[in-house]
Symmetry: D2
Amino acid sequence: MDLLATFTCKDTSGIVHTMTDAVLKCDGNIIENQQFTDPITGMFCMRTRFTTNASRDDAEQILQRELARFAPELKIREITNRPRALIMVTKESHCLRDLLYLRELGELPVEIPLVISNHDELRGLVESHGIAFEHLPVNAQNKKSQESEIMARIQELNIDVVVLARYMQILSKEFCNEFAGHIINIHHSFLPGFKGARPYHQAYERGVKIIGATAHFVTEDLDEGPIIEQDIAHVTHSATPDDLISIGRDIERRVLAKAVRLYAEDRVFLLGNRTVIFI
Amino acid sequence: MDLLATFTCKDTSGIVHTMTDAVLKCDGNIIENQQFTDPITGMFCMRTRFTTNASRDDAEQILQRELARFAPELKIREITNRPRALIMVTKESHCLRDLLYLRELGELPVEIPLVISNHDELRGLVESHGIAFEHLPVNAQNKKSQESEIMARIQELNIDVVVLARYMQILSKEFCNEFAGHIINIHHSFLPGFKGARPYHQAYERGVKIIGATAHFVTEDLDEGPIIEQDIAHVTHSATPDDLISIGRDIERRVLAKAVRLYAEDRVFLLGNRTVIFI
Amino acid sequence: MDLLATFTCKDTSGIVHTMTDAVLKCDGNIIENQQFTDPITGMFCMRTRFTTNASRDDAEQILQRELARFAPELKIREITNRPRALIMVTKESHCLRDLLYLRELGELPVEIPLVISNHDELRGLVESHGIAFEHLPVNAQNKKSQESEIMARIQELNIDVVVLARYMQILSKEFCNEFAGHIINIHHSFLPGFKGARPYHQAYERGVKIIGATAHFVTEDLDEGPIIEQDIAHVTHSATPDDLISIGRDIERRVLAKAVRLYAEDRVFLLGNRTVIFI
Amino acid sequence: MDLLATFTCKDTSGIVHTMTDAVLKCDGNIIENQQFTDPITGMFCMRTRFTTNASRDDAEQILQRELARFAPELKIREITNRPRALIMVTKESHCLRDLLYLRELGELPVEIPLVISNHDELRGLVESHGIAFEHLPVNAQNKKSQESEIMARIQELNIDVVVLARYMQILSKEFCNEFAGHIINIHHSFLPGFKGARPYHQAYERGVKIIGATAHFVTEDLDEGPIIEQDIAHVTHSATPDDLISIGRDIERRVLAKAVRLYAEDRVFLLGNRTVIFI
């Protein structure tokens, strides 16, 4: 059995030693092991992959028992038991396509039981990949009930993570808090930043030489939240706003796919307003 | 004679044709030629390098005459007649060192007749390169007179460009306007941006995955202004604020040196709030 | 009418002037204009996009007449008249998917009337995009006749460029020469280079920190030929050979798509063994 | 006391547990901890930084005793006890300058007691930094005795690492083997690779779109050996051979400085022909 254990706890001495001891007590053989102590929060994170003849449940029992005095937030799963992602989109397909494509290639270890959209345009694309598609329109009046529907699907389908793959709606504060640390969004980003509408046009008028994208956990503020992954591309004065949008799409899809993969491999630890990423 | 002509004018038809005709009238042979029409401002920019037996002055007369109907802002110089840069620093040496080093290597085609600092710490470094150093302290009381001194040096030494190589003072509005388009600054930059003190510490607390630097022309707002060059580096959670500062220094010096080189080769055209860079 | 003219000729004085004069004679207004003189071959390249009320044929006649003394290789087309690409694949889909996807997004200005494969696996993918798919198996015995079939399709379908999107067959010397400068291949590439089978495994054993991909025109030697585009990704010791293959796929598809786009926009000039790319 | 312990040994179960136990026996508190098992060689590497009240010698004794059954190659030092580097140069200064500069900034944790050159040109630069310079000319006749001199300095000065900062001589097989794993070289590198003289001119004629540099441990073959760090820059057709050389210099100095820093922080593990780098 190939198991992946991750946990965070308050830092103190002896944690690594206790964890490796617990793995030995499972007759486990460590394959990967990473740990980090965050100086700001004083929190300790550890990610340990090990093979063992013990069952997941027995291993969990042993680890919980041995680590108990550190009061860890522990998660342990079989590597083959992939996280389940709900993807939410509006009309733009570029991020969705990359996620579907990488999953088919075997490079994105997630299950995707459902794609939800507030529009119907992408149904054909989704269903052609053998994935269920649900059209849940949203407007100012039905926002609350639409989110209740989404939340119901999350429960029914045992969703681990919600991926906003260019979902052009602001989620309610309640929704964000309910699923904090489990909603990933992709957002364009610029140096300097631009407020308001049509950011690529603003970037063009400002003559930026770099455009970027940021994948982050969603908090109450849609376009902020702890950063998971960022990347950029260099651009020149000759790029039109349409060129910038096209280049931006390419960065967005790569950055979001990278962030989802990191999450799916349990490499992302959320500590307050920042992330620790074991790569 | 190896001449470099640059000009901007309002876009209309026939400019390239007229310019190449004018070069032929100088018995010139075009070595490099680039042009761009900016859709926002409707301005046309052209950079033409050509060899000729005509003198610079004769060539200028011909170009001015032939191009007159376009009312261009024309500049023409011998390639070997390098722009003259005044470098201003405070205490940090990393950007200054790179500029001095690249000039010695022959990779930065500028003359540096003087370095001015509001502190005395970098005198030894500057003088060891055979360059004059002047210590002009500044405080709230003497700011106006200190800037007058700087402006006097700019006049005496025929300075073309002022390079703020980590000069930690805000120049007055009058100074910025007087020399608009001829002051280059280097500024750290982040996604998202941070206001206030200790930006690298803020970036650390926010868990950014990228840090960057922006070289720009100085306008009244020290850290804004038309962008000349930008670059970034990827960082991880394990980088401490000191690590970020160190990485930031490395980006800053590369970006500033690149911007100064582009300027020195007359590759930078300023159109309103954006630049056109011929590379 | 939005026309794009490209030409190469031996460098001499007066070419730009003559060309811009010819455009004026078409009542044309230049939108983009780039030129370069290659010091090695002494060849001059120019790419001019202009709008005009003249027809393409009339414009061609004027340009041919005016430029005649330079004996240029001239090509002129309407921007909307997109190049026609034949894509060839074997079993791997990553490069093909990106090309189809970018074309649908409107970011790859090519027509794709046909995909040919020596295997049948990718038929479903291709046909689901509404594109014809032809399975032309190849072995040592039928290689000549298979290539004749391909060549026949190229003629019938007025193909401008053949894109080898992971086509794992070596084309005959005759085929390569017949279509020289119009076959684009994508090839992994490493520092240092590796000969022989399983290059990613060799790269892994050598502990490379960078892997790359190169898009190039095909010459008699499949994996050499004039380079159009290259890019790399950084990797670490912890990447397994499978990880390297996955990262390599991602670079390959980006680099090939970029190269096809540059070609499709007539930005690529072939001068002996090197390319000039107007970006 | 801030200690840094690194070791490699054959992989088996229980190593991390034993190591963390040993650190606890030193009353140590782990600050950083990284480990990796190399699937090719079956070797295990670990790097542990910890604070303790024990002396370095006591800590070493405890670690050696506790880890004895793994027969580790163990190294333990105080963080403040920096590695000692001998830098070797010929006439080019760019890599040397960066090393001196970064050491002065406090970003390169090495001592540099001596710079040796086979020419005298860089004496002034080195001595102006307060570092001893020795001119040891070399030719076919005296090569053996020159290398004996160098080896004598390495002994006298307790040198840990020899940095070839553009030392344009091939070291003898005996020298390389004597100091295997402790000589770092910087080498330009290209896609594809070029044999023979004037590689930048070859790269130019081939029209490469990327040039790079590789820092590696020196083996008998000067320009091969286990890779420590690599990086690249994008170039275009308009870059002349001189431009490529200039860009290459910039990459070389950054890559070599990075490699020396990684080595100086004991982040580089040499396993057969590949390196493991803990970053």
